[in-house]
Amino acid sequence: MTRETFEGELHRLKDDVVQMGVRAGQAISRAVEALRTRDVALAEQVVAADDAIDAMHLELERRCMRLLATQQPMAGDLRTIASVFAITIDLERMADHAEGISRATKRLGLEPLVKPLVDIPAMEARIQEMLRETLEAFRAQDARLAVQAAAKDDLVDELRNRVLHDLLDVMVKDPQTISRALELLIVARHLERAADHITNICERVVYMATGELRELNV
């Protein structure tokens, strides 16, 4: 591979990471949508679509390995490839959480929800915002935007705590609801973890842009 094709391949690699990010975001969005509309068929689709995201992850990892082996990248190029390597793992996990949410939706079936869905869709909206900004920061190598995106993780955590408290109230009042309430708790937990993965990606973007490897939101 010549240097020129290497540059091209780096660009394609970054484009494809953004594509994978968009797909992972869509998976989360469709998973929450399936829960909201009690659409088990849609939930099944999300589960089935996860294989494609897993395949994207492996393909990107292979391409990173090939570039490392054949180009011996240095400095900014090395940071980019090393970051892509880590980022695709986080994106793949995000999609796994979408799958987890969909499985909870399937288990709930058509049973009535124990409370109206307010905070869970709000969590999902925050996550989409975080992800949009993070992918933009990745594309532009913008460390400041990445830090700003990661800061939104606190909002997601806050919402998750509200869900927890509400569900505890419901369960205490009526133990009949426990198994259904736990499903919603699992969903909130999946969303919270998805936001953590986006925070990890933000850390990699900061590393790509500045060379500083540090934890955000500690």
Binding site: R3, Q72, M74, A75, R79
Partner: protein, 268 residues
Amino acid sequence: MMERPVVERRAAALIDHTTAIQAENVHAWFDRLHALRGITMTIPERKVTAVIGPSGCGKSTFLRCLNRMHELVPGARVSGAVLMDGRDIYTPGVDPVQVRRRVGMVFQKPNPFPTMTIYENVAAGLTLAGEGSRKTLDEIVEQSLRAAALWDEVKDRLRKPGTSLSGGQQQRLCIARALAVSPEVLLMDEPASALDPASTLRIEELARDLAKDITIVIVTHNMQQAARVSDFTAFLLDGELVEYGPTNDLFTKPRERRTEDYITGRFG
């Protein structure tokens, strides 16, 4: 925990070591060609310092200024100071031969003396300096060959010509020859560029190993080699020192755009 700013940390990394050689505003010329333009650089003791840069950037010239080899080229000139133990090696009255004993050199192409045996090659510097004791010579030859990781391969054929060895072995023979006079510093000018990957790795391991006792300065075109073998890296361009610091920093996050462009292969 607050991290120290990068620049401060890099400077501290160099200051924390004892200095082997201090180059002060070193300029060098080949006739009218101004090859080095004011290099000031501290080479830390018992570390491996790599000098990188594109062809013609002055890295080999810089190396040769450190042991007064540059002046051997007709029309060559040097200005500035090269301090060892606080004393300028260019002070009038300093014997360049003594300087070259303290600061040995290994070249790109292995150059064993063609008419000499392996033993004689290693002993050459000592014999030249008047060392006559057979026992002393035997001891130093063995020590030097061991230090150059060659002893086990040649101990049964010390009387064979140096040129009968493979390229990688010949280069280690040249290193043994340089070590025999107990230098404080060993300059290596692309010591592995003519060798196969396995021999290259042996030379690199050797450089790391030798740095436990002596100071190594290595010029290389191979970025990965510089990254693998050195503690500090200097990047030269057009006779100027563009960037100098801990190797890990230089290869993962160079401060200078020109360094980034060079090490990522965007020019040079």
